[in-house]
Structures are given as C-alpha cells and as structure tokens.
Symmetry: C2
Subunit: 412 residues, 2 copies
C-alpha cells in the first residue's frame, strides 16, 4: 500500500522525538517561571519527520494588551535566549525564532484568554486549537493527518502563508477529525463543488469563501478562509486522480520535466535588496502578478499564464503570451452614423471609414505595445529590487520547465 | 455656388444631346417595325454629360413568355445589328450592347405588361418608371437629380450593381420628387436613422430593409432594397458634412492620397480567366471578402478591414490585420474542477493547469496561423483565376493608398 510506504518515510521515530525533546529542554530552561506551553504539530503529534518547527507559546494575562507583548514580553524573551542563534520574525505581531541543532523553535508571545472566541490576537486561539485536536485525534488519526499533510505538500496546496494560500495544519487536522481518515477525506474532496461546508460546529457568521470550516473553538471564524479556489480545485482533482490510481508521485513529486517554449515567454528575475517578511513580499508579488496580467490583457495581449515562484529575496515572474507581437495599431469601433457623437469621433480620429453595419471605425495607435515594458511597469514592490528580464529561448531551469509543462506530474 | 459650378460640368449641352440623337437614329432604323422605346436617364432627361448609356427597350406581348425573349427576340435583335460593334450581356436575362461612336446603347428585350405591378421580368417595369418620373419632374427637377447623382457618384454610393450596392438612378429621381430638390434631400438624409421610410405611395408589403422607398408603380417592391447600410450611412454623413462645408470634392474627389502601412496588410491580386457578368463575379467577391474576414477572426486574428476593388477580371482584395503574428499556440479554457468532463479534458489536452477561478486551462496548437493561407482558402470564385499575394511593404498604387487612408477626402 502506497500510504504505508509514505508513512514509513514521514512518521517520526522515537529518536526524532528525542532529538526535539532535547532541544525543547534547552528552551524550557530559558523560559523558566514564565507561563509557557508547547503548541503546534509537535505537541499535537501530527508533525512530519524532518519537516517541522517547534512552536512554544509564552502567555501573558490578557489585560497587559498587545503592545506589552510586542515590547516588554518580546524583550524579556530575547534577553533569555540572546546567546543562542536567533532572529526576529513578524506575523500579526513579532516573535523569536531560535535555531538549535538545526531545529527551528518559534517562541511566540500570546495573551491568555478564557476561550477561543475571546482571542485578542490571532495566536491567542492556538492553545484551544491544540486542546481541540489532541482531544479528538487518536494515534491512528494522527498518522492520517500526516498522510493528508504530505499529500497536500506534494500537490502544492499545503501552507497557510500568502505565497501558497493553501491549507493550514489545523485545517488538515479538522478534515481528518470530520471525515475520519485520509482516504475518506479524499473521497469527499473528489466530490467537492464550492461553496463547500464542513461543520464540526455551527457557524456563527455567514461566510462567503468557497471552503467553509467554522472553527470549533471560535465559530465566527472560517479556518479555511484564506485557501484559494485554485488550491481547493487542485486538491479535489488530485483526490479524484489519486483514488483512481494511487501513486507515490502525489506525495513526493520527483519526475524531472521537460517542455518546449510555447508562445512567447517573458522571464522576470527579481532580486530584493532588503529582507522583508515573506507574507508582505508575497502579498506584493501576488498583486504584481494580477496587475501584470490585467494590464497586458487591457493593452490587447492574449495572456496564456502568469506565475511567480521563489523565496523572499529571489523571485521569478514568468509571463506567457500567445504572441508578443500584437501590432502597433488597433481597430477602434466608433458610433453609428446617426449618433450625435460622430463629429467628435471624426475630429479626433484618423483612418476613418463606415462599416457594413453603419458604424464608424478608425485605426488607432496603441499607447504601449511592448509586453516587457508593460510587465515591468506593473510590478508593485515596496522594497528596492533589481530586475533582469528576457524572452525565453531555451532553458535548463526546472522551475521554468514546470511552468512550461504546467500539467502536474501526478496528473499526467 | 458649388452646385452651379457642378451643373456646368455635368449638364449635357444641346450638342451632347444631338450626338446621342444621331446614334439613336441608327438604332431606330435597325429596330424598324419593332415595338421599341427609349428608356433610362436619357429619355427622362436626368443623364449626366459624357457619362451615360442609352437604354432602348424592345417590347413583346407578355404572352410570348421569358424564354421567347431570351431566344427568338434576342436573335432577331442580334440579326439586325450584327454588323455593328456589339456584345452580349446578362442581367436577369440577356440583352445586347452596341457601341456606336463611343456611345453605349443597351438594347433590352422586355414584355409589354398593363402596369408596373404586373411585371413578369424586372425590366418590364421600366416604361412605367419612365412615365412616373417624366410626369413628376420639371426641368429644374432634372438638374436636381443630376446634382444628386453626381454627389452620390463622388462619394461612391451610386449604382445599383452588386459591386456598389448603391442607389439606382430611379432612386435618386424618387428622392428628388419626394423632397423637392438636391439640398432638401441632403438636409433630410443628414438626419436619417434607419429604418428610413420614404413613401411616395403606401407600401403593399412590410419591408425589412434599412431604407424603404416603395415603388410608386409597384408598391410591393422596395426601390432601395439593395442599398447597403454602409452606403446609406455614408450618404447621410456626407450630406451632413456637405451642408456644413460645401465643396466640389464631394462631387469630384480629386485629391491624391498618401498613407503609411498600419498593421499588416495582405494584398491579393486576382486575375479571372473567363469573362463573366459583373454581378455574378462581384457576388462571389463579396462572399469571399466576408468569408475571409470571418475565417481570420475565427482563427484568432484581429481584423482591421477587408475590402475589394477592381473590375470584372482584375480584382484586388486587401486584408488589414492588427498583426499577422498571432502565435502558434492559444489559451484553451476548460471546465470547472467539479465538472463531469474534466477527465475527458485532461485526457485530450496537454499543458493543463488549474486557474485561480477553479477552471482547468490548457495550451492548444492552432490548426492554422498563417493569415495568407487562410485568406486564399476562403476565396470562393466559381471561375478559374490566378492569384498573386504579398504582404504590403510600400506602394504607389492609389487604390491601395485609399484603402490605407480610409478617410474619404471629402470628410477630412
């Protein structure tokens, strides 16, 4: 069975666990006397081997407020670990990342609230998620979560970050709790048609997103609010195809791909000067991708596909057009001969004629007909960056090959 | 006054009239004892100087039928003029063209019917048209018709033949009879919005054409049924512009035009082997122009304009595209992820991906992406022809220059 094979790879051993416990011992000592708890997939037992961060939350009374967390609490934590290898990171508010023996530990200050629906910052809900999941998943259930996570990683729909807009770990856990096991989740997902409602609890709000999983610990929140329709659709199709023809390729796509350049492909290589938060950079990259596509279409190009990939500093945007030569001039459709506006049209236009339909037509010059210029103009990054751009001739780059091939290897 | 100047040029002198009368004397002798009459603009006194054919109709009792006209009557006429310079021509049925001193005389066999609405062939109505016009137009009215004819010739909307799809001589006469004079026709035409109804008599049928002038001698027929909307619109616009700013340019467009090539312009030069009737050839040319435009659009080209010009043997079709490079591949939009048809789509397509909207997309190869091939394939001529085609670089050809400029010189 494929799934057993996969579990052998992804299920942590006792040794893996001990390694992480050893790291945690160091952190526990440092946070002595603080109100802290281990959260996240390690605590819930749904983590993947060699593929996890450890989340340690430090709680403060809710009355201290957000600003206390961001200054005093953070400073206290930093003082306790400053001799270790650490960096500062930002989500809704700042937290500390400590690296010990190549294990990443996120130390997150949070407010202690009475229940999930009383959360003041997004992270305050986390201990309630932990409680909900640990009390609803048995040992087999944890492995089912692991399979689902790895499957979603394999097909590229795992990760709540803006860059992915995929499923969070918590979402995979809720799916397993709701449907029972990995196979059952796939069976149901293969039949999805949005809006999809998965109600472990009654929603306390009307949600408009395509996939709706009201949070059992805070039912006015949709756990999968940020999952894109593209990822929902991809997951549904992958589920259908996996059930028909299970293969390790879904979990660990490995095939090297090759494809020729079809149409005209513009490659934009961006190099960001400053280090910014991933979600901030990718928010801007996603906006840029949309703007580039919209602008090119507006200028008359037929766009096949625009995609972006990369990390937080080196980003590639690929723009695929049916043709980069759309011509300098375009047909301009004017008013009917009996319209009040014909004199204005005739005055403002050149190359005017009357069509068989009684309308006036003219030829107009495009304001811009160089796709490269249009694409570059529509990159909206708030940090400084260098850009290198070229029309693709041929390539060895596997990422570009994937962009050209498009079809996922697990599909065909 | 412009119009007086124009009349000086177009109004025949006594000498012109005598010249034609001399030609007619020869024809009258030849048709001795037949029931013949002079019809057409010469008879009606609405002909233009150095710009007329003479129509002579030979009438037979209506009981002899169409076939008698086409054989016996025609042969009799030919026998009488066979020593002169003559050719055979075809409209609804055959007639004889005799050339005497560079004056063209059309000798047309027709059936003698009691009234216009009893016409068996289209030409049987003609003597009733002649009677109607001569009894409704005075001398000044005839000059007004001449002005209107010359104006329509100048702007290219005169001529009932399929090649032009413009106004017939009879239509111009009815317009003057209805509105009173040339200026009044223009004033009204400048305000036209189709459907336009000009009722010298109550229509005996519901007409669907944009311009409706029920024939006073046969009210179930629309005199302007064959006038294209393009010509109606052109006439309306020209009327409006002439009234604002009268100029000889409307009557005798003379300006040499120049224009650069905008977009990609394909020139197709057709040379027809056989001599065919103009209306038959131009029916096929018009169909070809439409087919070329439709096919190019269907294959994904953005068509600016397709036009044809020439005579009955040498015809030019010009095809203007925004760009001839539309690329070998195109974006193919597939079904939503939840559709029954996705498996079929995935099986039949390559380069498949899921879009942000949850749809499947793929890249497809165009069956044809060479505009020249598509244009040539869509020429539907039933006679043999040679074709020469090329992408326009630059030209001295005034017809091509006019095609490139488009804007009529009288407009701007």
């Amino acid at each position: 069975m494929i799934e057993e094979e996969v579990l052998k790879i992804i299920k942590p051993t006792e040794e893996d666990k001990k390694g992480i416990e050893k790291v945690l011992e160091i952190i526990r000592e440092r946070l002595n006397k603080l109100d802290f708890e281990v959260e996240g997939s390690f605590r819930k037992g749904t983590w993947l081997r060699q593929d996890t961060d450890i989340d340690v939350f430090v709680f403060y009374p809710k009355d201290v407020g957000k600003e206390y967390l961001e200054r005093n609490a953070l400073n206290d934590i930093i003082n306790r670990i400053k001799d270790l290898d650490y960096t500062l990171a930002y989500a809704e508010h700042p937290y500390v990342i400590v690296n010990i023996n190549n294990v990443e530990v996120d130390i997150v200050p949070a407010l202690r609230v009475e229940s999930g629906d009383k959360a003041i910052t997004a992270v305050d809900r986390t201990p309630f998620h932990t409680k909900y999941v640990t009390s609803h998943l048995d040992e087999r259930g944890k492995d089912e979560v692991r399979l689902l996570k790895r499957f979603m990683k394999g097909i590229g729909v795992y990760g709540a970050e803006l860059k992915v807009q995929g499923f969070s770990g918590y979402a995979t856990e809720l799916l397993i709790i709701y449907y029972g096991n990995f196979r059952k989740v796939l069976e149901e997902a293969s039949k999805w048609k949005h809006p999809i409602k998965i109600e472990l609890t009654k929603p306390m709000k009307i949600f408009s997103e395509p996939l709706i999983i009201p949070d059992p610990v805070d039912p006015k929140r949709n756990v999968t609010a940020a999952v894109s329709l593209k990822n929902i659709a991809t997951f549904s199709i992958a589920a259908k195809y996996y059930l028909k023809n299970p293969s390790i390729e879904f979990f660990f796509p490995s095939k090297k791909v090759e494809e020729k350049v079809k149409g005209d492909v513009l490659i934009l290589r961006l190099n960001l000067d400053e280090k910014s938060s991933e979600d901030i950079v990718w928010g801007q990259i996603k906006r840029s991708v949309n703007k580039i596509e919209r602008a090119l279409k507006q200028y008359g190009f037929r766009v096949i596909d625009v995609q972006a990939w990369g990390d937080t500093n080196n980003i590639t945007i690929a723009v695929q057009l049916e043709s980069k030569n759309i011509g300098q001039y375009y047909l301009n459709i004017g008013p009917q001969y009996y319209s009040q506006t014909i004199e204005d049209f005739i005055q403002k236009n050149d190359n005017i004629w009357v069509g068989e339909d009684g309308r006036l037509y003219s030829i107009k010059e495009r304001k811009e007909y160089d796709a490269e210029t249009i694409a570059k103009k529509n990159i909206v990054l708030k940090v400084k960056y260098n850009i290198e751009s070229y029309w693709l001739q041929n390539t060895e780059d596997q990422q570009i090959m994937k962009f050209l091939r498009k079809t996922p290897t697990w599909l065909k």
